[in-house]
């Protein structure tokens, strides 16, 4: 049973993290290659707070808020640059975060932070907390998709200029997407830090940013259920593949490549194709 609890907890955190990027990249069409930085900001912030003796719920809230606030600042960048330029800018944000954390002794530097206090919850209770939050984020995503704001996101993702011409305040909605997405990533980070109870800069590097982007893309960009499925599969795959751990990353790269090469709309696209419906290939394509 302990193994299943570990698996489900890891899965739940991955689902929250992937859905958070889905708000930015899937719904609003703004690509990010540095999303793990916000996961890291949440993790470091929450860990520092419980380490100073303050309660766990406060730590989660602080990680959520700090990541969201820094996310808005990075969101401002998306008002200046687009598409490939935005991809590289967000990648730069990721490396900048790593560079800063590595040089800060009070954050443990290269060695990382160990001895993060327990959340005070038992393992099953912690798992339940993670799954409840994951369910809440899922419900929020599904609600958002069908809300006025979701439709506006869709239009921004499809064609920013047209959206602006229709009188939509594109800047405001982009910032909203970044604020929500990065804050939720921070929340996932706080949960991660108190699940593993050890964090180091490498846990939030470029590979993690790509992994979470892979979850969104393999699931089918913008599709809530597809992303959840992909997050669940891709987060436990490395654990299941322990017995061939030497080939783990190779398989992971191959999976990314193969899905993009042969089914760029991800799993949601495959399902849709099986159902015989034609699908939009645009980012933020409706699924």
């Amino acid at each position: 049973m302990a193994y299943e609890i570990t698996l489900l907890t890891a899965m739940g955190i991955a689902v929250i993290f992937a859905l958070s990027l889905n708000l930015i990249t899937g719904f609003c069409g703004q690509i990010s290659l540095g999303h793990a930085a916000f996961y890291g900001i949440g993790a470091y912030c929450a860990a520092m707070i419980t380490k100073s003796g303050l309660p766990f719920p406060l730590a989660l809230a602080a990680g959520f808020l700090l990541a969201g606030m820094i996310g808005v600042v990075v969101g401002l960048a998306s008002l200046r640059v687009r598409h490939d330029f935005l991809a590289i800018t967000t990648m730069g944000v990721g490396f900048l975060f790593l560079g800063i954390v590595r040089q800060q002794d009070f954050l443990g530097g290269e060695m990382g932070l160990s001895g993060i206090p327990s959340s005070g919850l038992s393992k099953p209770a912690f798992m339940a907390l993670v799954l409840i939050i994951a369910a809440a984020v899922t419900a929020f995503s599904l609600y958002l998709k069908r809300s006025w704001m979701g439709y506006v996101f869709d239009s921004v993702a499809d064609d920013e200029d047209t959206a602006r011409m229709l009188g939509i305040d594109v800047a405001r909605y982009k910032l909203a997407a970044f604020a929500m997405g990065t804050a939720l990533a921070g929340l996932a980070g706080g949960l991660y830090a108190h699940n593993i109870r050890f964090i180091d800069p490498d846990s939030f590097g470029f590979v993690e940013s790509i992994t979470v982007l892979a979850m969104v893309v393999v699931g089918g960009i913008g599709s809530v259920w597809g992303v959840i499925l992909a997050a669940a599969v891709l987060s436990v795959l490395p654990l299941w593949l322990q017995f061939i751990s030497d080939y783990k990353l190779l398989l992971y790269g191959a999976l990314l490549f193969t899905v993009m090469r042969f089914s760029p709309n991800g799993m949601a696209g495959m399902v849709a194709a099986l159902k015989g419906r034609s699908k939009s290939t645009a980012p933020g394509g409706k699924a």
Binding site: R80, V81, Q103
Partner: protein
């Protein structure tokens, strides 16, 4: 004197960046694809360089093997990986490319081992004095090699029919095709040339560090992306200037800002600062 020494070190590093980034910018100009797997060819080029040099004792022969071999592999990557994805949104090719790059790095680790390879008798290790600064011959050779290769590329693009056709294709593919340019061949040639230059850079880095390892492409790969963005995406001259500038800024930054940020973070902080002021890159046109 330290300032001058740092300048030279920065230019050596910048030459390497330039050789890698030029290939990326050629690909981006033609296809609008961020070709992350390019750095995989750089790494493999380094491996071939070390292996051939160790087997034959000739560095020149190693370059002559590595460059065309990687050039052909570059064409192979274009035909099998990117060509079918050209009509898709750009993130599709980008993520496919990242997947391919991860696969390549893992294959290098599995095939050549995790600890890397070194030259048995490393060539060009003596030091020479340049304007009173001691440089390794390898560093001097890197700078000269970069100037020769990139100069050759400039001649190719500016003075030959192929170069003209290539520039026309970048400006307006449909119009170029209407004027009888074989677009497929132009793309092949660009991938070949860009990949061959990356291979040369790989051999030079192998020489500078006397080491090739599976992950040696990671950092240059992301940094080269930053460089082509700074240079204004697809602009050859801008890319060159950005590469050399970044090499020099890193060299000074590591000395004067080293306590605050590490080398890579300095590069990306510079990138972000520039993009916020000039979203089209340093030399891009708005």
């Amino acid at each position: 004197m330290l300032a001058f020494e740092l300048l030279l070190q920065g230019l050596v590093q910048g030459s390497i960046y330039a050789l890698i980034a030029v290939g990326l910018t050629l690909v981006y100009g033609l296809l609008r694809i961020l070709h992350v797997a390019h750095a995989g060819l750089f790494t493999l080029g380094g491996y071939i360089g070390v292996i051939v040099t160790n087997a034959t004792g000739s560095l020149l022969l190693a370059l002559l093997v590595a460059m065309p071999a990687m050039g052909l592999l570059g064409i192979g990557i274009y035909r099998t990986c990117y060509q079918p994805l050209l009509s898709r949104p750009p993130y599709v090719a980008l993520i496919a490319s990242i997947g391919l790059f991860i696969m390549m790095e893992e294959l290098f680790r599995l095939i050549f081992g995790p600890y890397g390879l070194s030259f048995t008798a490393p060539p060009l290790q003596d030091t020479v004095a340049v304007f009173g600064v001691n440089l390794k011959e390898a560093e001097l050779a890197t700078m000269i090699g970069a100037v020769v290769l990139i100069g050759g590329l400039a001649l190719l693009t500016l003075r030959t029919r192929i170069g003209t056709a290539s520039r026309a294709t970048v400006t307006d593919p449909k119009m170029a095709e209407a004027f009888g340019v074989n677009i497929g061949r132009i793309r092949d040639i660009n991938f070949f040339v860009g990949s061959a230059l990356a291979a040369a850079a790989g051999v030079m880095v192998a020489l500078l560090n006397n080491l090739v390892e599976p992950t040696m492409g990671s950092v240059p790969s992301y940094k080269a992306l930053a460089i082509i963005v700074l240079g204004g995406l697809g602009d050859l001259r801008g890319t060159l200037i950005a590469a050399l500038a970044l090499g020099v800024i890193e060299a000074y930054g590591t000395i004067y800002l080293g306590n605050l940020l590490d080398r890579d973070a300095i590069a990306f902080a510079f990138l972000i600062a520039v993009l916020m002021l000039r979203p089209q890159g340093l030399f891009g046109r708005a």
